[in-house]
Each structure stands twice: as C-alpha cells, then as structure tokens.
C-alpha cells in the first residue's frame, strides 16, 4: 500500500462527498469509525475531555448522514456545493493492518444566496486494510483558522 493508492482512495472519497453520495461514502467506513473535527483552539485535543466541533462515533455518523439526506437539515437545504482539493498526502505510519495518513485539504463551499467559504486544514486518517481495500477507522479534519468565524458551521461532511 503506497502513497498513490492512498491518494486514489482520498480522491474517490472526495468525489463521493462532493457529489453528495453519502451512502457511497458510508461504505468506506469501518463499523466502528469515528469522525472528528477538533475545536480551533485545541487542534490536537482529545474529545473525551475537550469540547470538539464534531466528535461522532459510528452511530452519530449514521444519524448525521440520515439527517443530511433529509430536506429538514435546514443548514444544508438547499445543499451546499462543495469542491475538495486534497494534497500533500503523506503516510505517517503503517503495518499490515493499518495506516496513519495525513493530507492537506481546502474545501470550498458555495450556497445559494452567497454564503460559503473556504475550509482549510489537514486530515489525519486511520485507514484499515480490509479485504485488500482501505476502510476509514478514523478521520480527523483539523481546521487551521484561529476561529470558525464567518464559516459559521460545519454542517456538511468536512
């Protein structure tokens, strides 16, 4: 499993999310996956003792996705258009079963009425190898901004 394979996986995931294929995205997750967005002031914090922006276990990821597919997720209805640029992919550690990978992201968000913005930061993923393919055990999206500010919310999957 080399960097190119990881990049292919990230590009695939980004395409699913930009297309709002949330069921397709769920298929990439392990049954115990976690999705984390730390607070801007404690980017390396632990969600057990620090208030995050998002700290979902698999049950809340499922709930979040169900919500996002509804017309009643008002913050995402009409849905944001997003475009994800993912670069600087590096494998930080790996063995036969698991990899720790980082990448930079710039996610551009557009909404009807003009509200949107650029979510800039880095990912740290734990990828598990299951049946020869990657599955996401944990994805942590760490924002670089000092405060969320005008971005207001992380209402889509970052």
């Amino acid at each position: 499993m080399n960097r190119e394979a990881v990049e292919d996986f990230f590009y695939h995931e980004a395409a699913l999310l930009d297309a709002w294929d949330l069921d397709g995205w769920m298929d990439l997750l392990c049954d115990d996956a976690r999705y984390l967005v730390p607070p801007n002031d404690v980017p390396d914090g632990d969600p057990d003792n620090t208030l995050f922006i998002i700290a979902d276990d698999i049950d809340r990821i499922r709930g979040r996705v169900k919500r996002l597919k509804s017309r009643d997720a008002h913050a995402e209805f009409p849905r944001s258009r997003t475009r994800r640029l993912i670069t600087n992919v590096r494998i930080l550690a790996h063995d036969d079963a698991e990899l720790t990978v980082t990448a930079n992201f710039s996610v551009h968000r557009f909404r009807r009425g003009g509200k949107g913005g650029e979510y800039v930061g880095r990912y740290i993923y734990t990828l598990r190898i299951e049946g020869g393919a990657f599955r996401i055990a944990e994805r942590r999206a760490i924002l670089d901004a000092e405060e969320l500010g005008g971005l207001s919310a992380v209402s889509f999957i970052l």
Binding site: L51, R67, A73, G149, L151, A153
Partner: protein, 453 residues
C-alpha cells in the same frame, strides 16, 4: 447622557416606536428596524451594553496565579487574569504609552505583560514596572498612575465574572435579580459547588442581528419545525421524545420573567441528562456513573432539591447577551454584535470540577449531539437566524412589524413555547433604549411560576 448621545437619541427617535406593547389589547409587535438599522446598534452600545453587566469569563479559566486569557468583552479587548495575590482581574488590553495591545496570545501564564512596541512592561496586577529609557521623561511622568487599566466594575456570582463599563451600575447580585435562583441550580450540580469551563471553545459568526439569538436561544416554539432531524435522531437512538403524561413538576415547561430583563424557560427533563437520567445514547458503561451522580445529589440536597437540580432543564438568559443552557449538558454562550446584521458567538461547555472521566465524556458527547457549529441542531438555528435577517432587511418598509403575541392573552403561567420571555427581553431593551416604562402582563408574575413549581 452626553451631548453626542442626545443627538443620536433624537436621530433614532424620529422613527416609529421600537415596540408596540399593549398586553390589555393582546398586542405586541416588534419594529423590524431594530434588527436592521446601524444607528440603532450605535445607540445600543451606549444605552444597553455600556450600562449593563456583561459576562466576562469564569473563574476556572484562570485557575492559577499568572494564568491569563485574552478576549473581547463589551466590545473592548481585555485580559482576564489571576494576579500574584490570587485576585481575578480584568484589564483593558491597551498599553498606557501609545495604545498597543500588551498581550496577543489567546491564553497562557505570565508574571508580566510586555508591550513590544516600545518595551513597557506591566506586572500581572497591572503595575507598570519597566519603561526603557525613562530618563527622557519629565518629572511629571508618574509610573504609579500608568498601570494597566481595570474595567470600571468587575464582580462575580458563584464563579461567573461580569464586567461593567458603567461605574455607577448597581451591584451584580441585585442586578441579576431572579437569575441567581437559576445560576444556583446550575452550580448545585457540583458536589463542592465548583464548576469549570471545559477545554475547547467554539467561536463562530452568525449573519444576523444579535437580538435574534437572544430570542432563538430560549424559543421552544421552533423546536419541532427547526429541529425535526435532531428529534428524529433522538428517536432513532431509542430516546422517548414524547412529552410524557403524568406526575411531572412542573407539568409543562414554563417561561418566566426574572426581573431586569432576565428570563428563563424552565422545563421538566425528559430526554436524558448527565446528572440525572441515563438514556441509551450515553452507553451502558456510563449507567453506573449517571446513577451515582444522581445519588450524590439526593444525599447532599435531599430528594426534592435533587429532583429540581437534576430533572429540570433551564435555558437562562442574563440580560443583555449571556445564555446558560442547562439541559442535556451545560452551555455557556455569549455573543456580541459586530454590525447590525452580524454577531460573534462564543460557546463553552461547563461541568462540575472533579467529575469522573466517564461523566465528562457523556457530558461533552451530549453537548455535541445538539449544540455547536457541528451539532445536529445549532447549524439549523444559524440558518434560521440568517434567513430571518435575509428576509426582513430589505423588506422593512413594506413589512415593518413582527408579531410576538404567543401566550399574551393568558391569565396564568406561560409556556416555554409562548413568547412571554421574548417580550420580557424586548421590554427591558426598549426601556433602556428609550426611557419608556415597560408594560406588564397579567400572566407575567412570579406567583404563577411558583404555583407551578
């Protein structure tokens, strides 16, 4: 009021009244200009924010001497710190020389604040202790008069510190009026009476007038329409989201006027609470800890008071810009207008000092299910407020009034989904802005609320 204040006053007063308040005629309308007009925001800074007590921070944010936090309070940059004598202080973050901020870090610990521009430095009790090349100053130069400036007034109630830029403001405790009863209920969750701000702050902007967030933060009328996806999530997770029938105290959530513009919605808890009621979302492993927390409350406070602390929720509004939402978790939320159509929001989680690791985890997890910029509910509130602002701003001439009469015709207590508590805010705000006395409602009595307790 100074001369410039008078000029602004007359400029603003040329317009329609801010509110039409006639409870006898079952009428309460809000002039939408109050949410749009930049001149009104200028007047608010003088007549509301600079007259009141403004939440500045919690004692737990500066636990040790030398600890500091920088932030804006009342529109001013300030340093919240604990000095060498263990006093919590709030300094204006501006150098007495020519004005630079003397502290630029978010937080830390220091004995001295050093102004890098020309090198003056101040002890953490504010004293000016070093001035490079001070031989060039004349005899009249008196260091002892050039320490960091304290805010005019700074007092705390049970660890919550407030600042006032009005030297003549009444003391904090009488100002808080009936709000103290509810702050007590929050603090009594803690075995030793000490609460703390948890690490991790949420800072986000909303493109809406700040007063819309006052309304929204304790408006239970919008729950089912705005937050149906959250209710759905709770239901899917096995939580009973129906309001149960039976022996509940109070039977229904109520809205209360607490005096001085403060107000609350006071609800019986039926969707889980880390200090009282385990729900499936918390996980089996948290069950003994939640039960132990409840048992500790009963032991310490007696059955009845423990029930009040543990099994009622409160969204407490402290006039003009602090909300403490004590329900599935405790959220402390302060906000500040940057412009008539934009505010900055700061939200923290509050928990008992020394609570077990598993309870802290449940508390934070519970917070995030609903609250914050990534929660399953708050982003929809942000969207609602921005849609209000977008809807009314340029239509204010054609559609000048909003309707806010829910519950106004009632004689007795008002529900959490009525709008008495919203009117309470607006009446106080109007009185401060115009000097006009506020109308009273028949249902607007402490007795009604007490009867319900």
């Amino acid at each position: 009021m100074d001369e410039s204040g008078e000029i602004r006053h007359s400029a603003v007063m040329k317009k329609n009244p801010y509110i039409i308040d006639n409870p006898g005629g079952n009428d309460f309308r809000l002039n939408r200009e109050t949410l749009v007009d930049p001149e009104i925001l200028v007047a608010e800074r003088d007549r509301v924010f600079d007259q009141c007590w403004i939440y500045a921070g919690h004692e737990s944010e500066v636990p040790k001497p030398g600890d500091f936090q920088t932030r804006d309070v009342g529109g001013r940059p300030v340093i919240l710190t604990r000095d060498g004598d263990n006093n919590v202080r709030l300094f204006l973050n501006t150098c007495r020389h020519r004005g630079a901020k003397v502290c630029r870090e978010r937080e830390g610990n220091t004995k001295r604040f050093y102004c890098f521009y020309h090198g003056w430095s101040y002890r953490n009790d504010g004293a000016l202790v070093a001035v490079p090349g001070d031989d060039a100053y004349p005899d009249t130069f008196d260091r002892s008069k050039l320490g960091l400036k304290d805010v005019p007034r700074f007092e705390n109630y049970r660890g919550f510190w407030f600042a006032s830029f009005n030297p003549d403001v009444e003391d904090l405790e009488p100002y808080l009026a009936g709000a103290t009863e509810y702050i007590d209920l929050v603090v009594e969750q803690s075995a030793d009476g000490n609460m703390e701000i948890v690490s991790g702050v949420q800072e986000y902007d909303i493109g809406a007038n700040w007063k819309l967030l006052v309304e929204n933060s304790f408006d239970d009328y919008h729950l089912h329409s705005t937050h149906s996806t959250w209710l759905e999530y709770m239901k899917d997770s096995g939580v009973n989201i129906k309001v149960p029938k039976g022996l509940l105290l109070p039977k229904k959530g109520i809205g209360r006027d607490l005096g001085n513009g403060h107000a609350v919605i006071d609800n019986y808890n039926f969707r889980g609470r880390p200090v009282a009621t385990w729900i499936s979302i918390y996980g089996e492993e948290a069950k003994p800890a939640v039960e132990a927390a409840k048992a500790e409350l009963v032991e310490r406070l007696g059955e009845e008071r423990a029930e009040r602390v543990a099994n009622t929720n409160r969204n407490l509004f402290v006039f003009p810009n602090l909300m403490i939402n004590d329900g599935s978790s405790v959220t402390v939320r302060a906000f500040w207008p940057e412009a008539a159509d934009r505010m900055k929001v700061t939200a923290w989680a509050l928990g008992p000092v020394g609570e077990s690791a598993v309870m802290r985890k449940v508390r934070l997890d519970s917070f995030l299910t609903f609250y914050g910029p990534g929660g399953l509910a708050t982003p929809d509130d942000v969207e609602a407020l921005e849609q209000v602002q977008a809807g009314l701003t340029s239509t204010v001439k054609e559609v000048p009034w909003s309707v806010m009469t829910r519950g106004i015709a009632k004689d007795g207590e008002q529900l959490n989904s009525d709008e008495l508590h919203l009117r309470t805010f607006w009446r106080r705000w109007n009185t401060m802005m115009t000097g006009e006395a506020a109308a009273t409602e028949t249902g607007d009595t402490a007795e009604a609320a007490e009867a319900a307790e």
